[in-house]
């Protein structure tokens, strides 16, 4: 008998494994560190639309895991989303909502709206009670105009004219608070976003490398990957590196001879056809 109707999905977080996880921690298990994005992400509304910005450093504790990580994710042709927090969580949740928005576009025959993406994100994050560690800056331009929102891991949202998230958010916010005003032009908006991200890159350890910018206006989106590269690599020796034999100190020597070849014996019954 085939599966006729799909069972309604059970909502909320499944707490089945929580006792087992607590037991493992008590027994001394070291949880592997999540790859977090440290991050400075920003967004602002200007006269013709929204500008989103992000740095490109992904960290694993004190180590830089990726020097040129893309933090501005595609949601719809007219909606993009910057993600801070656990990299896998931001990737997975934005991919999932992007997919749902595409199906919604087919079903309605209309361009996606920013509030639709917002509602899908916040309901998903709330149902996981903050365990999906994704802090997002969502921006886009739809039939009702330009929109900018922040989404927190527990599922709350804000609607703002300018916003920053991530470990570099205070550095970036100081730039916005002093220089933001309504009715910025496109060039002014991009410059201000780049300045805010640079403030995060240079003053926050969790952020670094390059500046990515995304400009969304009516009917047009420009994704300016690596808009600024304020941290170029300048130390490559043109001569290359030479390693002299004997440069590495030998501490001890152990010689093990290779085992003699094992003879394979032909014969035996063939496998059943």
């Amino acid at each position: 008998m085939g599966r006729m109707t799909e069972l309604p999905t059970k909502g909320g977080f499944s707490f089945d494994l929580c006792t087992r996880n607590d037991m493992l921690l008590k027994n001394g298990l070291q949880m592997p560190p999540f790859r977090k994005t440290g991050t400075t992400i920003v967004g602002l509304v200007f006269q013709d639309g929204v500008v989103l910005g992000a740095d490109t450093r992904a960290t694993e504790g004190p180590i830089v895991a990726d020097k040129n990580f893309e933090k501005i994710h595609f949601m719809a042709p007219n909606i993009y989303c910057c993600g801070a927090g656990t990299a896998a969580d931001t990737e997975a949740v934005t991919d999932m909502v992007s997919s749902q928005l595409q199906l919604h576009r087919y079903a309605t025959g209309r361009e996606s709206r920013v509030v639709t993406a917002l509602t899908l994100l916040k309901s998903h994050l709330f149902s996981y009670q903050g365990h999906v560690s994704a802090a997002l800056v969502l921006g886009g331009f739809d039939v009702t105009g330009p929109h900018l929102h922040t989404v927190y891991p527990h599922g709350s949202t804000d609607t703002l004219p300018f916003a920053t998230m991530g470990s570099g958010s205070l550095a970036a916010m100081s730039v916005f608070e002093s220089k933001y005003r309504e009715g910025l032009t496109r060039e002014e908006g991009i410059e201000l976003v780049a300045e805010a991200i640079c403030a995060g890159i240079f003053n926050d350890l969790g952020s670094g490398s390059n500046v990515d910018v995304c400009v969304i206006t009516e009917g047009k989106t420009e994704y300016l990957r690596n808009y600024q590269l304020p941290n170029p690599r300048t130390y490559i020796s043109s001569k290359g590196y030479t390693f002299v034999k004997g440069q590495t100190e030998v501490l001890s020597t152990k010689i093990t001879s290779i085992q003699p070849k094992v003879e394979a014996v032909e014969g035996g019954d063939a496998m059943e056809e």
Partner: protein
Amino acid sequence: MGDSQYSFSLTTFSPSGKLVQIEHALMAVGSGQTSLGIKATNGVVVATEKKLPSILVDETSVQKIQLMTPNIGVVYSGMGPDSRVLVRKSRKQAQQYFRLYKETIPVTQLVRETATVMQEFTQSGGVRPFGVSLLIAGYDDNGPQLYQVDPSGSYFSWKASAMGKNVSNAKTFLEKRYTEVMELEDAIHTAILTLKEGFEGQISGKNIEIGIIGTDRQFRVLSSSEIDDYLAEVE
């Protein structure tokens, strides 16, 4: 019919080896409005009659040709609501494929998944087969493709095909007119002429629908004014 004792249940074979319900489903398709598809060297065209039950129906609210992905479209003959369910499921499967492989689904894969759904409904309890045959038109890395999927779940790749009321005349017409070197524009004209063959009444942009996909790999449904322009060229 001697098989009538076995025709009530989908999951019971008749002594002649047929599943009579599927035959009946094909009859439902055969009494539906004519639709057809033609594969050209640089694209695919699908077309269908759009006869509305009354002049009072707002024809702009009806669209028979649908998109499954930006580069794959579909037209049906038979029961409209059944086709809507299939299109919805196929869209979801295309999205799931993309989520997993980060690549748009190839046309053959989507056809296979759609056909699998249709087959499942011929081997389950308490359900009936879909009363539609689909013509799936797409353009991917393997070039332009046209597939027909039947209520049984079997699918075939076609160079040109027709389904619905006028299928035998339409197929004969297509066999005569089809050439291997046909380009998309010729294919559109041929499609219109084929529909015109069996059309009752005055053909216009308001009572047929045409969908095309070319080398740009964007499937789109032509507007009624575009169809009227093509009709004028064909006169």
